[in-house]
């Protein structure tokens, strides 16, 4: 393992990789801060820029954008209660309250420190667990892979958005789009209508750029312009007492985030909410949560960062993305001609370990960049959206063109831009569609292989113990949100019965 780490750091510490890691983290933070942009959009729009780089360098930059934008989202969550990322939503609860009490600097510092510690812990866990997990996954046959994909889809259907039926509908639409092109089993062309473009299927990255960048721009135009936001800092320093209070929450958040992040399809949003909920359960200051408790920032921030790293476990070892952004990253792997999966650790050790080592380096950069510069990044909030979106459109369209050097990609982006707009307008969740689209070809391939193994009998899946366990977890996932909500609520009720009613008076209802 030590050899692997040395290999990883020697790869990640090359001048070129360091430079692009820095660029990724910096651009990611800016993207996270800017209204209307998130990590998925950032990675999708900037993916074409990495095509001329070495795959490992490109992936290091894209991963930097991913976790950089998570922190950028935290800045806006704390300062203006506007999460740039879904995983930062819970940070608004206490982070914004801290900012209103003049402690924005402390909230942002603890978020940076918590994220850093979580990154180190999750990286250690990733380094320790990913290789044996990959080795274990080598024994996975098509039936097991099929079950894991069902688990991924069930998780995302269950947790994406706020209506399971719509989540399932969108996952099905993603799977349906993925069937366009030549069938992997028999070579039959499907839904191509005589078009040579459609023979190779509907291009994945262009779909992402359309849905997340152009669709978002159109949606923001429809929503209307908001006043440019000015944010100020009164107290930049974090006190020693704050650090002491945050130690436990950061550690708990890190481990919890890692566990949720490993689950294919679950992602960091769920991890951050669970960390917040559980911290509220176990903390002595649970009653202060929601009124500016630093633990309420430290725990979810640690959790979402740990989960972002843990997302790479299913992505790298199984080739099944943990969330929408890692799904786009998976698309990047495929464009570079790399097939993520259990063999990746043996076949491309410098890439895998270089990428993992870059997480550590990227988080160090993020810490040193953000502790002093958070107020500077916050000034980006003043940029009116009207100035930004023409640039987003330009970059998206030229980026799409550069993927295949053809206008077909541009048209795909435009079509899916309109689709993305309607999905946002009608509250249809995008993550299941993305996962369905990514998993579609793999799912069908595993299905064809399973059918071949079972001589046409797909029920063979139920005779494989491991596949059966994974399928059982998938079924449980559908009920998981209700179970989690009930657990969190039960504790809250018990605590509120015990505590003084005055403690739970929501201060947020008063103007600060």
């Amino acid at each position: 393992m030590l050899d692997n780490l040395v290999l990883g750091f020697s790869t990640a510490l090359s001048f070129e990789n360091l430079l692009w890691c820095f660029v990724g983290v910096l651009v990611g933070t800016v993207i996270g801060v800017l209204p209307g942009l998130g990590s998925t959009t950032g990675v999708a729009v900037l993916l074409p820029l990495t095509l001329s780089l070495e795959p490992v360098t490109g992936l290091i930059m894209l991963a930097g954008i991913y976790y950089g934008s998570q922190y950028g989202g935290t800045i806006t969550s704390v300062l203006i209660s506007t999460p740039g990322e879904a995983s930062s939503v819970v940070t608004t609860l206490d982070g914004y309250q801290m900012a209103r009490q003049g402690r924005a600097g402390a909230a942002l510092s603890i978020a940076a420190i918590g994220s850093f510690v979580a990154a180190i812990i999750s990286l250690a866990l990733l380094v320790a667990l990913a290789p044996p997990f990959a080795e274990f996954a080598l024994d996975f046959g098509p039936p097991e892979m099929l079950a894991v994909m069902v688990l991924g889809l069930a998780t995302i259907v269950s947790f994406a958005g706020d209506n399971r039926r719509l989540g399932l509908l969108m996952a099905l639409v993603g799977l349906l789009i993925a069937t366009v092109g030549v069938d992997p089993g028999s070579g039959t062309s499907r839904f191509t209508f005589g078009s040579i473009y459609l023979l190779s299927g509907i291009p994945f990255v262009e779909v992402m750029i359309g849905l997340f960048a152009v669709g978002e721009v159109l949606y923001q135009i429809r929503q209307g312009a908001a006043a440019p936001i000015r944010a100020g800092f009164r107290e930049l320093m974090i006190s020693r007492a704050d650090l002491r209070r945050s130690g436990g929450p950061i550690l708990r958040g890190s481990f919890l985030g890692f566990v949720f992040g490993i689950l294919p399809g679950a992602g960091s949003t769920l991890a951050s909410f669970m960390a917040y909920g559980i911290e509220k359960r176990v903390s002595k200051r649970g009653g202060e949560f929601g009124t500016g408790a630093i633990e309420g920032v430290a725990a979810p921030e640690a959790a979402n960062n740990a989960a972002a790293n843990a997302n790479f476990v299913p992505t790298l070892t199984l080739g099944i993305p943990g969330g929408a952004t890692t799904a786009v990253l998976l698309g990047a792997f495929m464009i570079y001609g790399i097939q993520p999966g259990p063999l990746l650790f043996d076949e491309q050790p410098d890439l895998v370990w270089g990428l993992l080592a870059s997480f550590f380096i990227g988080n160090v950069i993020l810490l040193f960049l953000n502790l002093p510069l958070a107020p500077v990044f916050a000034q980006l909030l003043r940029v009116p959206y009207g100035y930004m979106y023409p640039l987003i459109l330009l970059t998206s369209l030229v980026g799409a063109y550069s993927i295949t050097n053809g206008m077909y990609s541009v048209w795909v982006v435009l079509v899916f831009g309109v689709i993305g707009y309607f999905m946002k307008r009608l509250d249809l969740p995008m993550a299941p569609l993305v996962l369905g689209l990514v998993l579609g070809p793999l799912f069908e391939k595993a299905l064809v292989q399973t059918s071949a193994i079972g001589d046409g009998n797909l029920l063979i899946v139920f005779t494989r113990p491991l596949a059966l366990v994974v399928l059982a977890i998938a079924v449980l996932q559908l009920a998981a949100p209700s179970i989690m909500a009930r657990l969190l609520r039960r504790r809250a009720t018990t605590r509120s019965r015990r505590s003084d009613p005055a403690d739970s008076t929501p201060e947020g209802s008063t103007r600060g």
């Binding site: 209204p35 998130g38 998925t40 959009t41 074409p48 820029l49 001329s52 203006i80 999460p83 990322e85 879904a86 939503v89 608004t92 609860l93 947790f159 958005g161 706020d162 039926r165 719509l166 399932l168 639409v173 799977l175 069937t179 089993g185 028999s186 039959t188 499907r190 997340f212 978002e216 159109l218 135009i221 429809r222 929503q223 209307g224 312009a225 936001i229 909410f273 509220k280 009124t291 997302n311 943990g322 969330g323 023409p390 459109l393 330009l394 063109y401 550069s402 206008m407 541009v410 309607f422 946002k424 307008r425 993550a431 069908e444 989690m484 909500a485 509120s496 739970s504 929501p506 947020g508």
Partner: protein, 221 residues
């Protein structure tokens, strides 16, 4: 536009989208049957997955279409929203506000709509809502017109590529959007658009060496 009118507008759009998805699912199902569901020895054929997926899509979208036509509103309180609601118990209501929270103001109430790691978060209930006038005094109808203008401009820009080249037509698009749609001055619009196109040229052509189409008049090759 009043709130009920806006809601009715959304319901009409929902009905159209669910109707299209139902048709898409049914179409996929019918076409997939033609590809063959099974090969020899009952092995999975090229039509099985699209048929099953298409059938289920038609079923769920059809269900939603029927519910929408009957005036039922789809509940948005499951999944992550359940966990969010439970985790945020005791916290100030609506701690997360929208992209456009008023500076220094309290977080406005409202339920969050979010997709895990699915890009920017959209929180309902604040900012210039669907029925409000935005800071530039644009009504929902104005914004809707802007939306369709930008969408049409995107299509026109793509159609102009063979004539003006990609960068040329995107320059025209950017100037049009800034000066006409966003109503900024012509000079700043021209300057900002030129700088944006120059930056894109520098990155994609200069740095990445992408051969962008130059069109008949040969811009930006």
């Amino acid at each position: 536009m009043t709130a009920p009118t806006a809601r009715r507008g959304i319901a009409v759009e929902q009905a159209v989208v669910y109707g299209l998805l139902t048709a898409l699912g049914l179409g996929a199902l019918v076409m997939a049957l033609g590809y063959g569901l099974f090969l020899e020895e009952s092995r999975v054929g090229p039509g099985l997955v699209p048929a099953v997926v298409g059938g289920l899509t038609a079923l769920i979208a059809g269900w939603e279409l029927t519910a929408t036509l009957r005036g039922h509103r789809t509940p948005h309180d499951q999944g992550l929203a359940e966990v969010v609601a439970a985790a945020a118990v005791d916290a100030p209501q609506g701690g997360a506000s929208s992209q456009s929270a008023a500076p220094g103001g309290p977080p406005s109430g409202g339920s969050g709509s979010m997709s895990p790691d699915g890009g920017p978060v959209q929180i309902l209930g604040s900012g210039p809502g669907p029925d409000d006038v935005d800071i530039f005094g644009r009504t929902p109808r104005d914004r809707s017109r802007q939306l369709w203008t930008v969408s049409a401009a995107l299509v026109v820009a793509a159609l102009l590529v063979p004539l003006l080249g990609l960068l040329g037509s995107l320059f025209v698009l950017s100037v049009f959007v800034s000066a006409v749609v966003e109503r900024r001055g012509w000079v700043p619009s021209l300057v900002v658009s030129f700088l944006a196109v120059a930056a894109v040229y520098g990155v994609f052509v200069g740095f990445l060496g992408v051969p962008l189409p130059t069109g008949l008049i040969g811009i930006g090759g």
